[in-house]
């Protein structure tokens, strides 16, 4: 974690030409991506806590926008974003929510899909800035919507040199944040629809 923080500081803003090249690379990769599976570790940082709250899980994505986040440790909890509905399985207790009427959920879903595929540079709802460090690229998305901005100040996606998303950080106005680090990423493997059954 300390390392991640250090590298975040050693970032320089991309020139317009570099940003264009980087976007093209991510876009090209994103367009060829039909499925993704990965493991993730989530760190919830609250400034007043002694330690970040760590949870772990698995992620599955199927184009164009089915996403399943499944926490396995230290609790069992899965959220499935499918079409306009958010399905929750909280340790066996199932519920769902229509996202169609909720713009915050829509934007959140957009961010989540983007966090996996990376391609959301054209989203009108965000001001986007591009940075580079020794690990790859970091892109900052700042919500323009005031209501959304009350719970996410910036959304940062870290890409490796190949243009794959390797980490995501959601920064709150209070400077508390949620950081998600991906590993064991597998692209375009056959993924049954059953994985996305609520």
């Amino acid at each position: 974690m300390l390392l991640m923080v250090t590298t975040t500081y050693a970032q320089t803003e991309l020139t317009a030409a570099e940003a264009t090249a980087m976007k093209a690379k991510v876009k090209a990769l994103s367009e060829q991506t039909e499925t993704i599976t990965a493991d993730f570790v989530q760190y919830k940082h609250l400034d007043f806590l002694s330690n970040d709250i760590k949870s772990e899980g698995k992620l599955a994505f199927k184009a164009p926008n089915w996403v399943k986040w499944e926490y396995v440790k230290p609790f069992a909890y899965a959220v499935l974003f499918k079409n306009e509905t958010l399905f929750i399985n909280d340790d066996g207790n199932k519920s769902d929510m229509d996202m169609g009427s909720n713009s915050i959920f829509k934007q959140l879903n957009q961010l989540i899909t983007a966090s996996i595929k990376g391609d959301m540079f054209d989203a009108e709802e965000f001001d986007v800035t591009y940075f580079k460090n020794d690990k790859g690229y970091i892109v900052h998305f700042k919500p323009k919507n005031d209501q959304f901005a009350t719970f996410i100040k910036t959304f940062e996606i870290t890409f490796n040199d190949l243009g794959e998303v390797i980490a995501v950080k959601m920064l709150e106005p209070s400077e508390d944040y949620t950081q998600i680090i991906f590993s064991n990423r597998k692209t375009n493997q056959k993924l049954s629809d059953a994985v996305f059954t609520p």
């Binding site: 989530q42 919830k44 609250l46 007043f48 806590l49 002694s50 330690n51 709250i53 949870s55 986040w69 926490y71 230290p74 609790f75 909890y77 959220v79 929750i88 909280d90 340790d91 207790n93 519920s95 209501q147 009350t150 719970f151 959601m170 709150e172 209070s174 508390d176 949620t178």
Partner: protein, 202 residues
């Protein structure tokens, strides 16, 4: 009428029977001044729970976090599993501060309920007004924010805090699976309306 009046009196007398009496406790002279709630009392610990909330027919979950910052000072935060904050409150003695609340939940009546509940959970020392006994179980009458609470203690373990009004249970705070001053399982059950919070230590 002649018969109605006495039976009415009997009903009145039974319903007026005190909370301790109703539960088989008799008053004793208390050698103790205070009853302690140790469950959120260690500044070196991060208290993190998986929460399940049943509220007015709806169920939802999240992560419930309590941190003792200093004497009589606690931070209480609730987030979604994905990390988004739902609310973030500070308690400092009698002072209460809202650091954040999700706009959709920013309702005075709800905030007051949560504030009162979390104040009870985090208050460490309760001054004893009366003590009652039932075999080896002790019951202490205390007050928080001028409301009457009874604390059930068995074998030196605080197991329940119950808010009582006119002998009736209004809110119950149940502590179980207690290990090393951590209540691994906590329930807050409201009797007035449908609200139940279940916490499991992570």
């Amino acid at each position: 009428m002649r018969y109605l009046l006495p039976s009415f009196l009997i009903v009145l007398l039974i319903s007026c029977s005190s909370y301790p009496k109703k539960h088989g406790f008799v008053k004793v002279e208390s050698p103790l001044q205070q009853v302690k709630n140790p469950y959120f009392s260690d500044v070196s610990k991060d208290y993190v729970y998986k929460a399940a909330i049943e509220a007015f027919g709806k169920n939802f979950g999240g992560i419930f976090i309590v941190k003792k910052l200093a004497a009589n000072q606690h931070r209480v935060v609730f987030t979604t599993e994905m990390g988004n904050k739902i609310f973030d409150f500070s308690f400092h003695g009698d002072e209460f501060k809202i650091n954040y609340v999700l706009p959709q939940l920013d309702k005075k009546i709800l905030i007051n309920i949560l504030k009162t509940d979390f104040q009870v959970l985090t208050t460490e020392e309760l001054r004893i007004r009366k003590e009652f006994k039932n075999n080896s179980n002790s019951l202490y009458e205390t007050s928080i924010d001028s409301k009457k609470y009874y604390s059930h203690v068995t074998e030196n373990e605080l197991q329940q805090i119950v808010r009582v009004k006119n002998t009736k249970e209004k809110v119950e705070f149940l502590f179980s699976e207690i290990n090393d001053n951590i209540a691994e399982h906590i329930q807050v059950i409201h009797q007035n309306f449908k609200l139940k919070i279940t916490l499991k230590a992570l």
